[in-house]
């Protein structure tokens, strides 16, 4: 609770709203005790006194009544009526909602149909009809406003109750022989109450405004009694000659509604867990760059990642997702990057084209060079021109990575037209050709499918076709087959392999599966906790893994026809990258670890093409 309040008041606007509202409520509660003039005593000689005249701080109205006194009494009335309407609406609406949700079936059906009918009205029409039937008057306006808001509560509370009614504790109560009434009152109501209170706090402002509105129309409080709405309504005829009589009650309504809104926003933000972590910020077009240290010199590789550091800054914490990774590919080469989830392999891949979500991502060091040109910190236009044209991505899970509302043909054509000025018809013809290339049968028809109309394997092929659209030099494939079943996976891998040989494109293939690496990759780099722990030619690494982690990872792959044996899972979990231990990050899970492993930085060493980051490697390389 105190954490909740803290969060609420950290939001300065919400705190301001709370203070303003508290002042107004205190003033209103104290009104009968304050030395005010009678709000209803008329003095026509003193009419329309301007504010700050003697004896009338806020001036007087068209009948010479003291505005300050009328304002406070009016506010008192408006607040009381609004809160009363909220209480009535919440009580009746919640009762209807609980009954409908608890009993379900026919009762629920009939009640909710009725609620739907009521919600088919613009709210004021219903309120006007009720006032028309009952006649103008504050009490009738209150009834109208409450009645109009009943459906809102009924629907909300029914939704919550339906969820609760199926839960075990309700069944248990029923089995214990409790009657319906008792279950409703002692089991359901206490659980629904918080929702009712939140719904009330968000609607009470509305109800104050709605009753004020009806009074403004002359359908609510009748003279001489005045609430804020009728004060404004009476002042309207003198708006042009004596604006202060309108401004005073108007500003009061504004203050009340605004403070309730601010407070309500604060409550909502404090209750929404997504906002708590600050995750609801949108990623920028490119990853933020704040490089410290020297920038490595260019090499003659096609694409070179050099001593890359990428971090996530979340509040005070810094997660070192990538801590100095160097990788390179030449044309026609396939490099595998392997590691468990959270080892930093995807972040490394996304850093290349500045696609790490930012905030919270920041690239803090190193370089990414495409044909020698540094991409880190390159201006957006330069980066965009290369995205998809020189370096293309294939992502995991194509259901979420393809846009759900565009046809696949449109998405393919767009990839082409983002880099080449070609007419739509030409782009479309090319898109059909691409779908043929990735062996989608009946491409002419499938091109007008939406992603949700395709199977998982088909969607992944579309993802590959999209990466190939501009015949890039490098493709970065981030677990492109993880979401697929084995036969489809095999097809897609052979497809990628063919394309590489036919077009001489370089592939960086990210996976957690050594089987896939063995099938496709010339070289492999093993990542752990944001760093490379071993790399070398695939055959050599598979035949004689040097790092204990690599060895354990290979042992995890079950061998087909290898008979029944224990699956060699690696005990423990990868470390959190905001709190890396000194020395080898794998040491806590390694059975070979010595004291020396837990101190100081361990370099990547060995004779090229192999290297390992280990003091006591399984094999000397």
């Amino acid at each position: 609770m105190s954490a909740f309040l803290n969060l609420l008041f950290r939001n300065r606007l919400a705190a301001m709203g709370a203070v303003v509202l508290a002042v107004i409520v205190a003033l209103v509660l104290l009104t009968p005790l304050l030395p005010l003039q009678d709000p209803d005593i008329t003095a026509t000689a003193d009419r329309f006194k301007r504010p700050l005249t003697d004896g009338h701080i806020l001036g007087t109205d068209h009948l010479g009544r003291d505005l300050l006194s009328r304002l406070l009494h009016g506010t008192r009335l408006s607040l009381a009526v609004g809160v009363a309407a909220a209480l009535i609406a919440a009580t009746i609406g919640s009762a209807i909602g609980i009954v409908a949700g608890y009993f379900g079936g026919r009762i629920d059906n009939v009640i909710m149909r009725g609620v739907d009918m009521l919600m088919a009205f613009p709210y004021i029409l219903l309120a006007l009809a009720i006032v028309a039937a009952l006649g103008p008057g504050l009490m009738n306006a209150l009834i109208a406003v409450a009645a109009v808001n009943v459906p809102f509560f009924a629907r909300n509370i029914r939704g919550v109750t339906v969820g609760l009614a199926g839960r075990e504790f309700i069944d248990a109560a029923r089995l214990a022989g409790m009657g319906h009434t008792r279950i409703l009152l002692t089991e359901l109501l206490p659980n629904v109450l918080p929702v009712i209170i939140i719904a009330m706090s968000t609607t009470v402002g509305w109800m104050i405004l709605e009753t004020a509105g009806l009074s403004f129309l002359g359908l609510g409080s009748q003279p001489p009694q005045a609430d804020l709405g009728s004060m404004l309504g009476e002042a309207r005829s003198a708006l042009i000659s004596h604006p202060h009589t309108s401004v005073v009650p108007g500003i009061m309504i504004f203050l009340i509604v605004m403070s309730i809104n601010l407070l309500g926003d604060g409550v909502r933000d404090a209750l929404d867990p997504r906002l708590r972590s600050g995750a609801l910020s949108r990623p920028r077009a490119t990853t933020l760059v704040a490089r410290k240290g020297d920038i490595p010199a260019p090499t003659d590789d096609l694409l070179a990642i050099q001593d890359l550091h990428t971090q996530f800054h979340v509040g005070e914490r810094i997660y070192r997702a990538v801590g100095g990774v160097s990788l390179a590919v030449k044309p026609g080469e396939c490099l595998g990057v392997i590691g468990e989830s959270g080892s930093g392999k995807s972040v490394t891949a996304l850093s290349v084209m500045g696609l790490v979500a930012s905030p919270p991502g920041v690239i803090t060091g190193g370089a990414v060079r495409f044909q020698g040109e540094d991409l880190i910190g390159a201006p957006y236009a330069a980066l965009r021109a290369k995205r998809g044209d020189k370096v293309a991505y294939i992502f995991q899970d194509p259901l979420s990575t393809l846009h759900p509302l565009y046809r696949v043909g449109h998405q393919l054509a767009e990839a082409i037209r983002s880099h080449h000025r070609v007419p739509m018809a030409e782009a479309r013809a090319r898109a059909i050709q691409l779908l043929h290339d990735v062996r989608i049968p009946n491409a002419e028809a499938r091109i007008d499918d939406f992603p949700h109309e395709m199977s998982g394997g088909m969607r992944q092929r579309v993802g590959i076709a999209m990466a190939l659209a501009n015949e890039p030099d490098v493709i970065i494939a981030d677990e492109p087959t993880t979401a697929l079943d084995v036969t489809v996976q095999a097809q897609i891998l052979s497809l990628l392999d063919d394309l590489r040989r036919a077009r001489g494109l370089a592939i960086i293939f990210i996976t957690h599966d050594f089987g896939v690496v063995a099938q496709l990759c010339d070289r492999v780099a093993v990542m752990y906790a944001g760093r490379i722990v071993e790399n070398g030619p695939t055959d050599a690494v598979l035949a004689a893994p040097a790092h204990p982690y690599t060895k354990r990872l290979i042992a995890c792959v079950p061998e087909l026809g290898g008979g029944r044996r224990e699956l060699a899972a690696i005990p423990g979990l990868p470390p959190m990258v905001d709190d890396l231990p000194p020395g080898c990050a794998f040491a806590p899970r390694c059975d070979k670890a010595q004291e020396a492993c837990r101190t100081g930085d361990i370099p990547l060493s060995g004779t090229p093409p192999r290297a390992v980051r280990c003091l006591y490697p399984e094999e000397l390389v």
């Binding site: 149909r113 613009p122 309207r236």
Partner: protein
């Protein structure tokens, strides 16, 4: 598509019946004798009895409902006693004026609200975002009738840019420019709150969408950022914005009642308030049923728009 529209139209029939039943039930809440309520307490017993017979009030309730419904289906909404003309004629004439006002305000709140929301999301935590958030907060907190009055003070009385009230100038008005000059202030005052609500929702919908994987895909294939925001992201965000536009249409229609009073706009809302104060119940009844029915139809149009936008909705 045609089949879907037809299906939605058919499903509206029970709702329309429901509306007539609810209005009828509310009107039968009238305490005491309706004829006395209409004629006032000084009416002679003969007059009361005659009116009761004219209104069919001496018959049982269910029968009365079906007579009323049958007449309405034939286009007979009864006769307004205070205006001494058919209810439907009056409602249609007034609804036309309301449609001009509320329709303009609805277009304004949709366009301005979505625009503000998109800018706000694309420049999150930037100056534009803070400015928009502040204006929106004020916008959703000012009662529309107070805002309207303040606009009259500022732009009609002090600056003399725009006319104080009415739909046309009394002398020499009646053409389109005259209508537009009269429309500016009431439409803006009416749109203010809804614009704020739409802007807020659009902002959060855009922020939600911009974090999705398919936005990263669009960026990865080199789509220019402007197209990413205004194409990919906005299109996906519209899926959650459109239903809110439907709800806001209801609020705009409701708010029109206040604005019509403040600006002396000859619309259906002002007609209803006058009718209530004069106890012209047939006029209230007919007006409410007519406007609610139009609103139901509008919501069907919103659903159809939604299904056109989102192919995942089964049509």
């Amino acid at each position: 598509m045609g089949g879907y529209i037809l299906k939605r139209l058919v499903s509206a029939i029970p709702v329309l019946f429901g509306i007539t039943i609810i209005v009828f039930l509310i009107m039968s809440l009238i305490p005491g004798d309706p004829a006395t309520a209409i004629l006032g307490s000084y009416a002679t017993p003969e007059n009361v009895e005659k009116l009761n017979r004219d209104l069919g009030l001496d018959k049982p309730m269910v029968q009365r409902y079906f007579i009323w419904l049958g007449n309405m289906l034939q286009g007979d909404f009864g006769r307004s006693f205070s205006l001494n003309r058919p209810v439907l004629d009056e409602v249609l004439e007034r609804f036309n004026a309301t449609l001009i006002l509320a329709g303009t305000a609805f277009v304004l709140c949709s366009v301005l609200g979505i625009l503000a929301g998109v800018v706000s999301a694309a420049r999150q935590y930037g100056l534009a975002d803070k400015l928009i958030t502040f204006v929106v907060l004020i916008g959703i907190s000012v009662p529309s009738f107070f805002l309207g009055m303040m606009m009259i003070l500022a732009f009609a009385v002090n600056l003399r840019w725009l006319p104080v009230s009415g739909m046309y100038a009394i002398y020499g008005g009646g053409d389109l420019p005259d209508l537009l000059r009269h429309l500016v202030m009431p439409a803006l005052a009416l749109a203010a709150v809804a614009t704020g609500v739409v802007a807020r929702l659009s902002r959060s919908a855009m922020l939600e969408v911009l974090r999705q994987d398919y936005i990263r895909t669009a960026r990865a294939k080199g789509v220019p950022e402007r197209r990413v925001i205004l194409g990919h992201a906005l299109r996906a965000a519209m899926v959650s914005i459109i239903p809110v536009l439907g709800i806001q249409a209801g609020f705009v229609l409701s708010g029109a009642v206040y604005i019509e009073i403040v600006f002396q706009w000859p619309g259906v809302g002002r007609m209803l308030v006058d009718a209530i104060l004069k106890r012209d119940l047939l006029l209230v009844q007919g007006g409410v049923v007519f406007v609610a029915a139009c609103y139901v139809m509008f919501n069907i149009a919103v659903d159809v728009a939604q299904s056109l936008l989102d192919p995942r909705i089964k049509t």
